[in-house]
Amino acid sequence: MNRATAEKHGLVDGDFVWVTSHHSRIKVPVRTMEGVNPNTVWTWNAIGKRKGAWNLPKDAPEGEQGFLLNHTISELLPPEKDGYRYSNSDPVTGQAAWYDLRVRIEKAAETEQACDPSFPPLERPPGMPDRPDVLRFEAGGRKQPWDRRPDPRAGRRAAS
């Protein structure tokens, strides 16, 4: 969120805030910046992951600090006078309306310094192999660092 707006709310980087919409609320850490409209807060879509999801370690930043906006966004807008609830989508294109949610920001208490909601970690599905500690993409057939081979790509390219 905008730094000046954050100052008005008494917030600094890393503080946790409750973000409340007409639908629900989430508790998330704040990061301040200059390059955003003072009345807009934003985050990346799907930056958060449930602990253990995607075979990430259970203490991965995606699960500990990451969060999802989804909880605050309803498929339907609040009811009209006659009770009818319009779809929460752009009237012209039908595209889901993710960019115009009105929210309220409140500083979270000192004792509440963690993301909310938080779900228990996912267990590894049966049969899934151990997660490697070192990823070696495209290691090819090379077994040892000293077992150096000619560039395999050059050969493949020449053949094609």
Binding site: E34, P91, V134, L135, R136, E138, G140, R142, P145, D151
Partner: protein
């Protein structure tokens, strides 16, 4: 401990020119670099879960500079600058780090590298990447296996980071030739060296961000409401000028059918 090749007149100095004005910080350079080099002679470029980090020849840092209205976000892509006097080479005890005489590319011979990391201490730009899994130092090769690769079509013979940049913020060429496209670009845009005070004479150049536009032209004034009507009026004004100069109008005048449609669309969308 390792000697540099003697410079000679007309020497080729291959390098990159990186435009900080158009870089949008998308990290495509870093990803395509890793994609190419992981499967080349430097590969694999290991990733370490414990550190949430790995070997990356390109890294993009994003900063905010200034405050309030005057602030701007700068995306700063960082890779080896292929210095003319690279301390990372002269500090190498085994001769594994070397600078090529023919084009100035700084490379590491992984077969003779002992992984002492002296070069990473010597490089002030943080361009050296130690692969703990392989036990050797790795770095940007300026895609030496790509730029001279005759199996590739000629237009593909440029570094992976340059080929992929969607903002065309990266340019590759011979900075030793004052008439090359990249040298002209540097002269035109005031390209500069990174930390010239260190004395390593980096070959890569950075083009500075251009001054920020202010006022209605870029919509930075919060008081100025932007609407389709404004757009229609502005276009109509432009068309009047166009009519006077005999050019084709871009859209119907404000009192024409086009403007009526825009007024309707404006009304519908602002409900």
């Amino acid at each position: 401990m390792t000697c540099l090749p003697a410079p000679f007149p007309g020497q080729k100095k291959l390098g990159l020119v990186i435009d900080l004005d158009t870089c949008v910080g998308c990290h495509a350079c870093a990803v395509n670099c890793k994609e190419w080099n992981a499967s080349g002679h430097s590969g694999p470029l290991s990733d370490f879960e414990a550190k949430s980090d790995g070997v990356w020849f390109n890294r993009v840092h994003t900063y905010e500079a200034g405050e309030g209205e005057a602030s701007r976000t700068v995306h700063f892509p960082r890779s080896c600058l292929h210095c003319e006097e690279p301390a990372c080479v002269t500090v190498c005890p085994t001769g594994a780090s070397y600078k090529r005489a023919e084009d100035g590319i700084v490379l590491v011979n992984a077969d003779t590298c002992i992984g002492c990391k002296l070069c990473s201490w010597a490089c002030p730009y943080g361009a050296r990447e130690f692969d703990e899994d392989d036990g050797v130092m790795k770095k940007c090769t300026l895609c030496v296996d790509k730029i001279y690769n005759e199996n590739l079509p000629e237009e593909d013979r440029q570094p992976a980071c340059v080929a992929t940049c969607p903002a065309s913020a990266r340019h590759f060429g011979d900075l030793g030739d004052p008439n090359s496209k990249v040298s002209k670009l540097v002269a035109e845009r005031g390209g500069y060296d990174l930390m010239p005070e260190m004395g390593y004479k980096p070959v890569n150049k950075y083009l500075p961000p251009r001054p920020k536009k202010t006022g209605a032209s870029c919509g930075s004034k919060a008081s100025e409401e932007f609407s389709l009507i404004d757009l229609a009026e502005r276009r109509a004004a432009k068309d009047e000028i166009a009519v006077k100069t005999g050019a084709e109008p871009t859209l119907a005048k404000a009192d024409g059918k086009g403007a009526a449609f825009l007024r309707w669309a404006d009304r519908v969308l602002s409900r």
